[in-house]
């Protein structure tokens, strides 16, 4: 239902999209799925479904967790998150446990841990820096290298030792690293510098902008730049590109090629948040 229906709107770079939670809750819902569901989709999907005050109560957790899981946490956000987490924990006891002896078991350690989250950031930095994601990932990529089911432990140890040696070797001779070829641009790509790369497909011929396109572009340029004079070659001739690699490594796609595919075959990647930094 709604959870899996959201799949086409989550870009492919967001890894596995959450599956239908109503069907899959007991079949190994993965950490990443929980993360997208609880702190991404649930606030929208549960709006109007989860009654008040439970909905607002949940939103406190979502807001705080969205802050606390960042690599960069500003002090003011941290104070906000601390307040939200504490009041979430307090209201949890009021709303759910209700001082009832038979409900003491609602108050698990996971609830208590929230009280420490923010103050731990001031002690050891953002919790993502010391999270178990790394460990789980390492188990994953070592585990998939096992080639010998008859003695997996010995094989795993050998793969681990080999990993150590290869990591050491690649550090000593960096150009041995096979994955370094990634930095080469694919055929036909155009490096815009600043980390932006246009990727194919590309229009074979340039064409004159349509009237509406030219007006829209003009408006956009005028609202962001002081440029007001347009030369006499306006409207320009343009070439469409299908994809743009962003400085963060994600690839955004344009509507041109995306719209050609049926909605259930794609993971839409054209909604990009652009932030301008002025210094």
């Amino acid at each position: 239902m709604a959870v899996s229906a959201a799949t086409p709107y989550l870009p492919g770079s967001f890894d596995r999209p959450p599956r239908n939670i109503a069907e899959k809750i007991n079949s190994g819902y993965k950490a990443w799925e929980w993360l997208l569901y609880l702190y991404g989709l649930a606030p929208a999907l549960l709006f109007g479904m989860l009654p008040e005050p439970y909905y607002s109560h949940f939103c406190k957790l979502v807001r705080a967790m969205r802050i606390i899981q960042q690599y960069h946490i500003s002090s003011s956000d941290l104070i906000l998150a601390d307040g939200l987490l504490r009041s979430f924990a307090y209201e949890f006891e009021v709303l759910y446990y209700q001082r009832r002896e038979d409900r003491i078991h609602f108050c698990r350690q996971s609830l208590h841990a929230l009280l420490h989250l923010a103050s731990e950031v001031t002690r050891i930095g953002p919790p993502i820096c010391s999270s178990q994601w790394t460990m789980e990932r390492t188990i994953g990529n070592l585990g998939e290298e096992i080639r010998q089911p008859s003695n997996p432990y010995a094989n795993l140890s050998q793969r681990g030792l080999l990993r150590c040696q290869v990591n050491a070797l690649i550090a000593m001779v960096p150009d041995l690293n096979p994955s370094r070829c990634d930095s080469d641009l694919p055929r036909g790509a155009l490096d815009l510098t600043g980390g932006y790369v246009l990727l194919r497909a590309q229009d074979r011929y340039s064409r004159l902008m349509k009237e509406t396109e030219a007006t829209a572009l003009k408006k956009y340029i005028q609202s962001h730049h002081s440029l007001t004079q347009f030369g006499k070659d306006w409207p320009l001739k343009i070439v469409r590109w299908a994809r743009l690699r962003l400085p963060n490594g994600q690839v955004a796609r344009s509507r041109w090629k995306e719209a050609l595919k049926p909605i259930n075959k794609i993971r839409i990647a054209r909604n990009v948040k652009v932030c301008f930094w002025f210094s």
């Binding site: 950490a31 690599y71 960069h72 350690q109 420490h116 010391s130 999270s131 096992i146 070797l169």
Partner: protein, 532 residues
């Protein structure tokens, strides 16, 4: 999921068979694995149920004399009577004695010489085209089977018989020669009870299950496990200018933070890394971490190798915090530290961690000789063990604190007590006091959610009291009240090279934010919350 109707919140009606989501074998809220101390949940009320009134009521006395921040462990250990605790103490003592030439070091003279005198010339394959080809082949077929390498090698040799391409086995030897990275092998119990390391080295039979160390027929070890000493790997990471410069991240970040602190009246505007935390900065301030040192994070977890078969395997890794966050968590920079084969869970985790920690502690004391290829300089670096992380149950075995159902079940050792049900043995950290609730030991009045503070200073006082337990009954009682099961093996790491106990144990946001909280909230919404 279907939107929960208002009535769904009435989770008090017991559901016949509440579906408890099985996330994976190592679900953090699963049963505590501290089986080495016969009780599944140390520190919970079962402890006092076993108690026979012995009238020997005593309270931990505030210890005067030595400073608790830097306690004298010998003095702490001297009154220990119980054998399990004495064994834990022994491991810590051996670790304190750690030295590269020591009995448990496991390094041959060649490896020792490498650690103390690493090569001080750049390594290059430029004049060895055959070797270069062999390595390219080897790395390209790294994820494939050995056959792929051998077939490709044979094809090349058919076309160019004069090329000198080493075989796969020769390549493995060459790798060791170039990098100096190998593994130390130790025997262990066939049933994964203990490893024959440290104080258990000379035993011939497992002290838990009695299985012999050697196979009676072949005379070989029944089962063995590998530990990868971290020293040579760290040396290799400095052995190329490009790689060595990665270590500069911590140095420049630290300078940046200190400048920021000076210009911003001592406040940190944005927390971006472990180095923005007060614990790191304090250790830089007091000189425990210098720019020549390296900061490490230890992380351990148990993995089920096959979904439908008992195949537990524990792995620990080292993360080098000196690298920038964009790099340090990546496959090429995460260093596997050791593997603990299953299929059962290790009963005495200390004995399996011992070889890796012994090597670390020895390097911390002696200093690791590094050749910095970027500026052609040889120097001694100390390894600072900043954080030890694990998921819930594994963390309890690392830190030696009670599990999450204990009276003091907070994994950060905060002094907030839990409450338990009239007939239940598990404690839950409910801060508000239930209505009409009288329960010896946990009917304390409401505690505030908004003013919890953290203090770790009571750890050593409590540990001293626990260790001095005269008998098993007292031990269980004290374990409950102190929230400590045993002294953690990390006490053996030099105090100036770690954050200190229990500060060096982090909490894990991954499991908390995903499995633990969803497991708490969703069943409540759906009216399917498990009843005791």
């Amino acid at each position: 999921m279907n939107g929960p109707a208002q009535g769904d919140f009435e989770s008090s009606k017991p559901l016949s068979d509440p579906p408890s989501p099985v996330i994976r074998a190592e679900t953090p809220l699963a049963i505590n694995p501290l089986e080495q101390l016969d009780l599944a949940d140390p520190g919970c009320l079962d402890d006092t149920r076993a108690e026979v009134r012995d009238g020997n009521h005593s309270e931990p006395r505030e210890h005067t004399g030595s400073d608790d921040a830097d306690p004298d462990l010998e003095e702490l250990f001297e009154n220990t009577c119980l054998s399990e605790l004495r064994l834990a103490n022994e491991f810590i003592r051996e670790l304190q004695e750690a030295s590269l030439d020591g009995r448990h070091s496991g390094l041959d003279t060649e490896a020792l010489d490498w650690l103390r005198n690493p090569p001080t010339a750049p390594f290059t394959l430029e004049n060895q085209p055959d070797m270069r080809l062999a390595f390219d082949l080897f790395l390209a077929s790294l994820k494939a089977s050995v056959d792929v390498y051998n077939t490709a090698r044979a094809s090349i040799l058919r076309r160019h018989p004069e090329d000198k391409l080493p075989s796969y086995d020769q390549m493995k030897k060459i790798l060791v020669e170039i990098t100096g990275v190998g593994s130390i092998v130790h025997p262990m119990c066939k049933n994964s009870c203990v490893a024959f390391t440290g104080p258990l080295t000379d035993l011939d039979h497992c002290p838990k299950c009695g299985e012999p160390k050697h196979c009676p027929i072949s005379g070989n070890y029944q089962q063995e496990f590998h530990t990868m000493p971290i020293g040579p790997i760290l040396q290799a990471l400095w052995h190329d200018p490009q790689s060595a410069r990665r270590f500069e991240y911590r140095r420049s970040k630290t300078c940046e933070i200190i400048n920021k602190l000076c210009s911003n009246s001592g406040n940190i505007p944005t927390y971006e890394d472990f180095f923005h935390g007060s614990d790191y900065l304090e250790n830089v301030w007091n000189g425990s971490i210098t720019f020549d040192d390296m900061v490490l994070m230890f992380s351990i977890d148990g993995a089920q190798l096959y979904t439908h078969k008992a195949s537990d395997c524990w792995i620990y890794i080292w993360v080098i915090m000196d690298f920038s966050p964009e790099e340090r968590y990546k496959k090429h920079f995460v260093i596997p530290g050791g593997f603990i084969p299953g299929p059962k869970k290790p009963k005495n985790l200390d004995s399996f961690l011992f070889p890796g920690l012994y090597h670390l502690a020895a390097l911390q004391k002696e200093g690791l000789t590094i050749w910095n290829a970027a500026i052609d300089r040889t120097f001694k670096s100390r390894l600072f063990l900043a954080l030890n992380t694990a998921d819930g149950p594994a963390m309890a075995s690392l830190s030696g604190l009670v599990g999450h159902h204990g009276k003091f079940g907070c994994c950060l050792y905060c002094p907030i007590p839990g409450r338990h049900k009239p007939n239940g043995s598990h404690y839950y950290p409910a801060l508000l006091k239930p209505v009409d609730y009288t329960m010896a030991g946990c009917d304390h009045p409401d505690l505030s959610h908004f003013s919890t503070t953290m203090s770790h200073s009571h750890y050593f006082t409590h540990l001293r009291f626990l260790l001095a337990s005269p008998n098993d009954t007292q031990y269980k009682k004290r374990r409950l009240e102190m929230g400590i099961v045993k002294p953690t093996i990390f006490l053996g790491v030099p105090t100036c090279s770690t954050l200190g106990i229990p500060r060096c144990f982090g909490s894990d946001i991954m499991h908390l934010a995903t499995f633990n909280l969803s497991d708490l909230i969703l069943p409540l919404w759906r009216g399917q919350f498990d009843h005791d």
